[in-house]
Amino acid sequence: MTTTMLDSRTAIDAIGRMSLTRLARSKALWISAALAALPVLAALLISGSTKAPATNWNMVHLTLRLTILIIPPLIVGSSLADDIGEKSAAYLWSRALPRWVIVAAKVIYLVPVIFALAAVSATLAWVIARDAAGVDVVDLGRTLVGIAATSLAASALTVMAIVLAPRFGVVIALCWLLTLDVALGGRAMGARVIATSFSIAALAEGRDVAVALVSAAVITIGCLAVALKRIDRIE
């Protein structure tokens, strides 16, 4: 039988598609979807509220921000940990492909799923709560951009954590994102803070959206660079 060296794009595609297949069959997707429903639930709860619209929308947005921090470790983290954290790494690493394609495949194929879940959730929440929250489509657009940035940054953080500590990377990522992210990351560098930069309250505070975008880019590029460099050394 003739075998050929798989080019990186084909390898990424193969691993990415397989990751999607496995995600569709796993409970991680259902749990993530349930979490993504929380902002919609929040929107339903505030829909009859008599509080100030900004307050109402901030409540929904807070739920969305907290949710978006958990979903990347659940989806990207568990998928990558399965491939490189457990013994099944032997199957992929004995194949004729460089290891970095595994990381690339997870990010390229799974981050859109995370974004899709959160975007659907945010959009539904906006539809339900826009009157009570006094938000227009521009606010939704800003929120979606924030979700995209946070999905990417949180996923990159998770990937780096797992590559650095394959057995406990998911725990480290979740602990970081849910506790230390704000405390140690500083106003512009924490993944959660990036998302808050797109909330109305944050904008009302005069926080710089461009700085937040740059922060997201820096975190993503930095974490992925560390991960891609380090993955060759894992044994």
């Binding site: 060296m5 193969a14 691993i15 457990e86 032997a90």
Partner: protein, 317 residues
């Protein structure tokens, strides 16, 4: 001289303070080689180095002339079956093997066919569309082996390939491995079940405490273990006549007769067989059975690894 398929040069590997293998130099040019050693000897470490999963702490490992850890091209020609049975439980056997075959370089349009062929060869055709999570241990093992051979590699590295497999499937898999080797592929196989190794090959590499204790032809190695006399068992119709002849030979160190059975120990088995042959032709002794209880892999392994037997046996071709 054939270019070596695997060349290990002064290779050591440690995991923190734990030594995996120590200063091993070894060359494999082809055929089937059985990797033996007690638990923790370093067999899996050596196999992982050859498969490119880990890098040596010191020294070099080359497979097809390249360092496998750094060369996808080298890994394309390797089929590695790990010792553990973890796999993707949410995939069917067919999906799993097809995926790995594709990643090993089988074109996408051919990957399914290759997967089905490999699974069929391992007796998994009936169960290949069921999820691996529902497989028994033996089925997982066979699926794993199918994933190893699906892309038709030139070098097979099989770490305990028959663990958990039922006897019938075991015989089929051994036969399959022999056929693969007969096509010119190279196979490195480790097992604790020595008769399985014997069924596959006479060429062995014995690892003990991270070092190569013996490598080469099994029987040649046995001849080198001269401080352990060879045991020969003969069943014949005139045991006392034959025993007398054996006892008179200088190379025979012990003769015991029990009924029609003679148990002899000798430092020179070939000369001993000559004495038996002469007894047959001169004295008309009828030999009904002639065996060498310790001229086998189990005895060789035991002699090499038991306390007090610390020597290296090296056969040069």
């Amino acid at each position: 001289m054939t270019a070596p398929i695997v060349r290990v040069t002064r290779c050591s590997k440690w995991y923190g303070p734990v030594l995996g293998i120590s200063d091993i130099s070894w060359t494999l040019t082809g055929g089937v080689i059985g990797l033996l050693g007690p638990n923790g000897a370093g067999k899996s470490t050596l196999m992982k180095l050859a498969a490119g999963l880990i890098r040596p702490s010191r020294g070099t490992v080359e497979v097809f002339g390249q360092a496998p850890a750094d060369s996808p091209e080298a890994r394309r020609r390797i089929g590695y079956s790990p010792e553990h049975e973890s796999s993707y439980d949410d995939l069917t056997g067919r999906e799993f093997v097809r995926f790995l075959a594709h990643l090993a370089g089988v074109p996408k349009q051919d990957a399914d066919g290759a997967a089905v062929t490999a699974l069929d060869a391992m007796g998994m055709r009936g169960a290949m569309d069921r999820k691996i999570g529902g497989y028994s241990k033996g089925m997982r093992q066979r699926t794993k082996l199918a994933a190893t051979i699906a892309h038709d590699p030139d070098l097979l590295i099989l770490d305990e390939p028959l663990t958990g497999v039922d006897p019938i499937a075991r015989a089929e898999i051994i036969d399959r491995i022999r056929k693969i080797a007969a096509t010119g592929k190279c196979v490195i196989v480790s097992s604790h079940v020595l008769y399985e190794i014997e069924a596959l090959t006479q060429t062995i590499l014995v690892i003990y405490r991270g070092q190569v204790l013996a490598d080469g032809d099994l029987f040649a190695i046995r001849r080198l273990i001269d401080h352990r006399p060879h045991r020969i068992r003969i069943v014949c119709d005139q045991p006392r006549v034959l025993a007398a002849r054996l006892g008179a030979a200088a190379h025979v160190t012990k003769v015991e007769v029990e009924g029609t059975t003679i148990a002899a120990e000798t430092n020179n088995p070939d000369a001993c067989y000559d004495v038996i042959g002469e007894a047959v032709t001169d004295a008309g002794v009828k030999v009904e059975e002639l065996t060498s209880p310790d001229n086998n892999l189990g005895a060789v392994f035991e002699y090499l690894t038991s306390d007090g037997n610390r020597h290296r046996a090296r056969i040069t071709e």
